[in-house]
């Protein structure tokens, strides 16, 4: 049953990579990984929420309202990261013609779209009390909105093409074209001087915020990250079942036979 890849055993280095690109080998592995990521989500989530509400102090300017940062920033970072990962998987699927890479991209899209939506939602609820407006057409908000539309376009395109392989490849091209938007979001606060505040966290300089606030943000980001992985693995397992219904290994699964 595991003889899905009839590649010669001479070059074992190649087998290792492409073995994991077979849906039949990946399905049980994903199943074992999902509880681990849920556990990590819970741990980081509890720690993050604790720091956000009970350790991080009141902000001098924004009072208690600034605590929205502990969900706004993680959602925003995740929306960008997930798009890059999704485009990466889609690109790999296009280059190596592997079904599973394309399925992974398809699995990541919905949670990425939700992250972009939450980024805009929490940003609006933060903007109203602090800067007096629910929305403004500055560079960062506009490009985040475009990111949401790109996610929705990717999902819509895959949903409307009947042939799954063509849907995979067409979606991959769309995802790769949209990648250029992510650096725009990231650098927009540097390039344009508008409403959204500048970068407070950078990899090279000391952050311009209190230590506890930074820790809260990082823990919540890790929580969202583990959650995204857990949910994407769940979804890719469902996708594998939906797309591989004709194969023997699916018919022999415990869930289906019981």
């Amino acid at each position: 049953m595991s003889k899905v890849n009839n590649i010669s055993t001479a070059d074992s280095r190649w087998i290792n990579w492409f073995k994991w690109s077979s849906p039949s080998t990946f399905y049980p592995v994903a199943g074992k990984l999902i509880p681990i990521f849920w556990a990590l989500t819970a741990i980081f989530g509890i720690a993050g929420l604790w720091v956000s509400f009970f350790v991080a102090p009141v902000d001098a300017v924004q009072g208690q309202g600034y605590r929205i940062i502990f969900v706004h920033v993680p959602a925003s970072w995740m929306s960008m990261l997930i798009y890059l990962v999704m485009a990466g998987w889609a690109g790999l699927g296009l280059i190596f013609n592997t079904r599973l890479s394309a399925m992974m991209a398809q699995a990541l899209a919905p949670i990425g779209a939700w992250m972009a939506f939450l980024s805009l939602w929490t940003g609006a609820f933060w903007g109203k009390p602090m800067w007096g407006t629910w929305w403004v057409w500055d560079a960062r908000l506009t490009s985040e909105l475009i990111l949401l539309f790109l996610y929705l376009g990717f999902i819509a395109l895959q949903a409307s093409i009947d042939n799954p392989r063509r849907a995979d490849k067409a979606g991959a091209i769309l995802a790769l074209v949209g990648v250029v938007n992510v650096p725009i979001i990231y650098f927009s606060v540097k390039w344009w001087n508008t409403l959204h505040q500048g970068a407070s966290v950078s990899l090279t300089k000391a952050p311009a915020m209190a230590q506890t606030m930074l820790w809260g943000m990082l823990l919540m980001t890790l929580c969202f990250w583990m959650y995204s992985i857990a949910v994407s693995l769940m979804r890719v397992r469902t996708l594998i079942l939906e797309r591989e219904t004709h194969t023997d290994w699916v018919r022999q699964l415990n869930e289906v036979n019981h």
């Binding site: 009072g63 706004h72 939700w114 469902t238 289906v256």
Partner: protein, 62 residues
């Protein structure tokens, strides 16, 4: 840090905004796995029915 639960829920006057934000996130994060689980169950149910149908066909043709 918080003198009482009511102070915690009031969030210094920003209750609507803070809890709408955290609430929306909690809602999405809790509903997503449930939606996926529903879809997964539907697929498995369909596969089981398919298997039963095939076994039936095989038995009746023998």
């Amino acid at each position: 840090m918080w003198n009482s639960p009511s102070e915690f829920f009031a969030m210094g006057g920003y209750a609507l905004y803070v809890w709408s934000s955290f609430g929306a996130c909690a809602l999405v994060l809790l509903l997503e796995p449930i939606v996926i689980r529903i879809r997964n169950n539907a697929v498995i149910r369909r596969l089981k029915q398919q298997l039963i149908a095939e076994r039936f066909d095989k038995e009746s043709s023998q």
